[in-house]
């Protein structure tokens, strides 16, 4: 099944994964060894994009008056098909219904020490879609990801280069918490996520999954 419209079911939880892209982690350099971090991440570091952030392709993304620009976090979302509790990497993909293009939008912030709801949980800051079922994707760890702003390519990356591959991420996350049908888990945003400002059109394309497009509007104009 392929669809441009995707919305998590009522009661689902959408999880993001922090610093799973090797290059994004490397960008912190030696900072990971000193305060406040003191050590590199060990287990997957997750966060939640709550229901007020959920949006669809075509929805306007509001840029709050206290943010000049927003960071466009293009990533792949894994949509859970059946209860995943302590799954092995080998059987992990059996628990995935399909894949969704996500824009995990943040107010740019330097520190990852504290969970930053004020930066990650703005209304409409998690547009999702298009969606394809799992069998449409041969290898979710090797899909080209392109971000365009007003039609110009500003980021070209892929779903590989992760600290944890799709299967390993599912295994390591479900070791400590259960993912339920309809939940979404992102593989994490790649390094150098581009910034966009009000008035711009952001188009994210993931090879074999589809396209997500949203226009940014200044909140005070709405």
């Amino acid at each position: 099944m392929m669809s441009n419209i995707f919305q998590p079911p009522v009661g689902a939880t959408v999880y993001g994964t922090l610093l799973n892209h090797r290059e994004a982690l490397a960008a912190l350099g030696d900072q990971v060894h000193v305060a406040p971090y003191k050590a590199p991440p060990k287990a997957p570091i997750l966060y939640i994009k709550p229901r007020n952030t959920w949006a669809r392709s075509g929805d306007a993304v509001l840029v709050p008056s206290d943010a000049a620009e927003l960071q466009m976090g293009a990533t792949l979302g894994l949509v859970i098909a059946r209860t995943a509790c302590k799954v092995s990497a080998a059987e992990a993909l059996d628990h995935v219904a399909g894949f969704v293009v996500m824009n995990d939008i943040s107010v740019p912030h330097e520190s990852f020490y504290r969970p930053s709801m004020r930066f990650k949980c703005r209304d409409g800051s998690c547009p999702m879609g298009a969606y394809v079922s799992r069998d449409a994707v041969a290898n979710p760890d090797a899909l080209a990801v392109t971000v365009k702003i007003d039609g110009e390519v500003v980021q070209h990356t892929d779903t590989g280069g992760r600290v944890r591959s799709v299967a390993q991420l599912l295994a390591d996350v479900t070791e400590f918490m259960t993912l339920n049908p309809g939940d979404v888990l992102s593989i994490g945003v790649a390094a150098h996520a581009p910034l966009a400002h009000a008035g711009q059109r952001v188009t994210i394309t993931i090879e074999g999954v589809g396209q997500l497009e949203n226009v940014l509007l200044a909140e005070e104009l709405v």
């Binding site: 406040p36 997750l46 709550p50 020490y113 918490m177």
Partner: protein, 255 residues
Amino acid sequence: MKRAKVAYGGAIHDAFEHPAGVQLADGRVLSEEAVVWLPPFEVGTIIALGLNYADHVKELSKELTVTTQDEPLAFLKGRSSLIGHRAQTRRPEGVAFMHYECELAVVIGSTAKNVKRDEAMQHVAGYTVANDYAIRDYLENYYRPNLRVKNRDGGTVLGPWLVDAADVPDAHALPLRTLVNGVVTQQGNTRDLITDIPALIEYLSGFMTLHAGDVILTGTPDGVVNVNVGDEVVTEIDGIGRLVNTIVADATFGR
């Protein structure tokens, strides 16, 4: 009014407080032990506060990497962590410090966006008791407290009752405590919240829309201690409820 959601006789029921225990909406009166208690409302976004009682901040200050706090420390929990009254929470083999947190849970009743403090309490539907477990062995300094500490299955205990806001004259004067195997290990009072309920609603609704069913766990006071397999942990708040939980071993979950 105090309402609950329970499973009984093959269905899920709305239920109400009764001198003999609990009365289902269909009229049946049952003992507290006869039903399976679920979280007492349809839970939306789960927001939790860290370091929201001054005495607890002092208690943890030894291990905090950064102590200055210029805004409330708010984080989110997923629904898969939820369980109700009289349920079990797993303590993984080999961890050194797993602790409860007795918290007043504020349930949102109506959509709130950019709400000012003076109007904030109008958006509160009611209150329940939360036990917001943490396993400190898994703390990492990224989006701390990270979800491996805070978002474990069975790590968010809610109930037994949703108490209507109208029945709680002052939510900022409620004694709360935790008893482990009958011994009081934690005591506090909601008057000591650093960021009080209207301030939390003003802060959160200033950057996100809160919806009916969203819940704010307002933080815990001083007195968190390690719990072990077999312990009965009772978190209670006067006028709100007495929430019972039991700590079990990996084997109970086939691990």
